[in-house]
């Protein structure tokens, strides 16, 4: 095997491998929500058992909140290593908690309007799909708080900014999913 040749050239990445994993997992998440969406479209076609649901105003408010949180997390990322990072990071955490609060209020409003979780699946789908989205969102909040604690007041945080970049991209993505779900519920399924 004297002809074996070796390389010591370090690998250069166009995209960080962990960011690449995130992009791939986004494809999986798209498939998950596509499956739920298609199930709901099939249900919508069943005119015999279909019951229309009024989408509560709280979901519109949570949509606005999630869009703002995308802006603040972006600003936090851009200010890593400066004092502004902490400000934007905390605002994002507050907005994230507000989003969860509004979702719970939205579920309560649905129930109060005569759409309980158990009953005709026309309404159950709203709880279920927004709940599954909520699980993703809570997962994001956990890392938001974790990275906020890790980065605040630390030196050399720039070296680790790739993790915050991954988080903010995940955040934008999960926000986009909610905007899609809101528009899908409001204007396509329950119009």
């Amino acid at each position: 095997m004297s002809e074996l040749t070796y390389t010591n050239k370090p690998k250069e990445f166009k995209i960080h491998p962990k960011m690449f994993v995130l992009y791939l997992s986004m494809a999986s998440m798209v498939m998950l929500f596509s499956a739920f969406s298609s199930a709901l479209i099939v249900k919508r076609g069943d005119t015999k058992h279909w019951i229309n649901v009024h989408i509560p105003i709280e979901f519109l408010l949570s949509t606005i909140v999630i869009i703002f949180s995308s802006l603040t997390i972006y600003l936090a990322y851009k200010n890593i290593g400066t004092k502004k990072f902490r400000v934007f990071s905390l605002i994002t955490i507050v907005l994230a908690c507000l989003f969860v609060f509004l979702q719970v209020k939205g579920w309560n409003a649905l129930s109060a309007n005569g759409t309980p979780y158990v009953g005709n699946p026309s309404g159950t789908f709203v709880y279920f799909i927004s709940g599954i989205h909520g699980v993703h969102y809570v997962f994001g909040i956990f890392f938001l708080i974790l990275l906020d604690r890790l980065y605040s007041g630390r030196e050399k945080v720039l070296e680790y900014s790739v993790y915050y970049n991954i988080l903010q991209q995940f955040w934008h993505f999960i926000g986009l999913i909610w905007v899609y779900l809101y528009l899908f519920f409001k204007f396509i399924i329950y119009n």
Partner: protein
């Protein structure tokens, strides 16, 4: 990420290892464990089907209340049918096959030190282990394991009603929980495999220089990443129906003369979500088998693989078409015949890339200098089985023929040959071929040949006769009450005898693995590439280290199938050998 070799404790080296080689072995041994459990279940089923009215006292000793008086109870029989399918499809032929060979081959064959995320890789195994533990636990709950079929169709599986169906209690809840963990494991693994192949190839390893197993594992991972989430959605909705009495999949159900509260759901919706994964799952199983067999056939024919690019394009076409054919499992659900005809068209189209692969395998071995190693024998067996099983797929893909053949032994014969036994043959080929790499010892070839002949004879003896049982419905506990089916009593006994012989052959295989791994002839620096193969895994040192190659990574200059090119005095040129003057690169 630092993958440099370092001292490890027992816990970090053998249990919570992040080394792809150790994780491959963990997947292999866990897969073997589940193979034995799953195969033992099929033997129990065949005992019941072969001798339905006889009693076997040892069964009561073994199974207790599930075989009182020495006969398997009908409830337990249906649990066996369900768990056999689940275990073999998911735990053995998905995790066991892909998990073992993706972990072993991807970093080795692309010249990487490890996976993109070794931690995620470790998690993938442990989620699989946890899924298995939960599934195993379900076998021991008082109301029995899930018994509503591996496809978990509602309404029978959508309600917790043990008065109607014993297994629909805790057993089914554990089944769904286990599958949720399994899906997480598959997604973690798949994401990691794709990221590794795209990002961590060594210098010179262009995509068109990748060995076919890597291509196959890449496409498998893509399929898994896109197809498992819909199954997850189905599982979550089904569990909601079971636990919270929602009606996603249930409607207008009468139990004991009483109309239940479920309204507005659709069991057919579950079938759509299930089969959107369920059919790609067939390719998740068979694509790694394609890759392994392509490699073994080329190496042992001492010829370049025929139509390398066509092989890759065929894999891609199968992946694409695999997403468009799920409803061919649902022709009898009352779908619009026009919709059915579209699924017929796409289903039959898959025969084209499949035929390309078969043609290329045959032309690869054509006039080759064949070395009939156990791995080669199993690969040839795979091609034979894939053709036999694939031909009956043409019948079943056609809705006009599938409707009368649906749920008969013809279907059982088809899918067992084409995706069950064939995939097993590829797995055996892979184990025999890469055994020296996995365990640093050579496997016993004589036992390998005995294993091969016993297995292929029994496989055909079991499944060929089933094609003639095309009027016999599958999944029945016993046929004694049906005069028409008495005709098949002797044939059923014949099949059962060969099922037991086949099981014995697999025990021999396990004994060979354990014995050879402990006592086999050791691999030395001279014999570390026993098949004179071109791929990178054979260039690693005998002493395995975390990081695979000490010092720098190997550099690649050519594709992996330069066998008998005439450019050298030997009939193989490793991928690390620079091109000679006047020699053209393939990739």
């Amino acid at each position: 990420m630092d993958h440099a070799h370092h001292e490890e404790t027992f816990l970090t080296k053998y249990i919570f290892s992040q080394d792809h080689k150790m994780i491959a072995r963990q997947f292999l041994f866990t897969g073997i464990f589940w193979s034995i459990v799953g195969a033992l279940m099929s033997v129990l089923m065949r005992i019941q089907l072969g001798w339905p009215t006889e009693t076997f006292p040892f069964l009561e000793t073994l199974l207790g209340k599930w075989a009182e008086g020495g006969r398997i109870s009908s409830e337990f029989y249906y649990s066996l049918v369900t768990m056999h399918g689940t275990i073999l499809v998911f735990f053995v032929l998905t995790a066991g096959l892909s998990g073992t060979f993706a972990n072993l081959l991807i970093p080795y064959q692309i010249g990487a030190r490890d996976m993109a995320s070794p931690f995620m890789n470790m998690l993938s195994y442990w989620f699989f282990f946890l899924a298995g533990l939960i599934m195993l636990t379900s076998l021991f709950v008082q109301t029995g394991a899930a018994s509503g079929g591996w496809t978990m169709y509602p309404p029978i599986n959508g309600m917790r009603n043990t008065a109607v169906n014993l297994g629909s209690g805790l057993g089914t809840d554990l089944w769904i929980t286990s599958m949720t963990f399994f899906i997480v494991s598959s997604l973690l693994g798949g994401l990691n495999y794709i990221a590794t192949i795209i990002n961590l190839r060594t210098k010179g390893m262009t995509m068109w220089r990748m060995p076919l197993p890597v291509w196959a594992l890449l496409f498998t991972a893509i399929l898994g990443v896109l197809a498992f989430p819909p199954l997850l959605s189905a599982a979550l909705l089904l569990e909601s129906d079971r636990l919270f009495d929602t009606s996603f999949f249930l409607s207008d159900i009468v139990l004991g003369g009483k109309l239940q509260d479920y309204k507005g759901g659709s069991p057919i919706l579950f079938q759509h979500l299930f089969w959107f994964l369920g059919h790609p799952e067939v390719y998740i199983i068979i694509l790694p088998a394609f890759g392994i067999v392509s490699e073994v056939l080329s190496v042992n024919s001492r010829k370049p693989v025929f139509g390398y690019r066509a092989m890759v394009y065929a894999l891609g076409a199968i992946v694409l078409l695999g997403f468009l054919v799920w409803a061919h499992h649902m022709y009898v659900t009352g779908m619009n015949p026009f919709v059915g005809s579209i699924f017929v068209l796409f289903t039959l189209l898959i025969a084209v890339p499949s035929a390309v692969k078969v043609f290329n395998w045959l032309t690869t071995i054509w006039k080759g200098n064949l070395r009939l190693t156990p791995a080669m024998m199993f690969s040839l067996g795979f091609v034979s089985l894939f053709i036999s099983g694939g031909l009956t797929g043409l019948f079943l893909g056609n809705s006009a023929l599938d409707i009368p053949l649906h749920d008969t032994y013809f279907v059982v014969a088809h899918f067992h040959i084409v995706m069950g036994v064939a995939a097993f043959f590829a797995m055996f080929a892979g184990v025999y071929h890469w055994f020296p790499k996995m365990f640093n010892r050579h496997i016993n070839d004589t036992l390998g040949y005995v294993h091969f002949y016993m297995t292929i004879i029994s496989a055909y003896a079991i499944f060929l006769p089933m094609h003639f049982m095309l009027s016999v419905p599958r999944r029945y506990y016993m046929y004694s009450n049906f005069q028409t089916f008495n005709l098949f009593d002797d044939l059923s006994k014949f099949i059962s005898v060969f099922a037991i012989i086949s099981f014995a052959a697999q025990i021999l295989f396990v004994v060979n693995i354990v014995y050879s791994a402990l006592k086999g002839r050791e691999v030395t620096e001279e014999t570390k590439n026993p098949w004179n193969s071109n791929t990178l895994e054979w260039t690693t040192p005998v002493e395995q280290i975390h990081g695979n190659w000490p010092g720098d990574l190997p550099e690649v200059h050519r594709w992996p199938y330069d066998y008998s090119t005439g450019f050298d005095d030997k009939d193989w040129i490793p991928q690390t050998t620079p091109l000679r003057e006047g020699e053209e690169s393939h990739g």
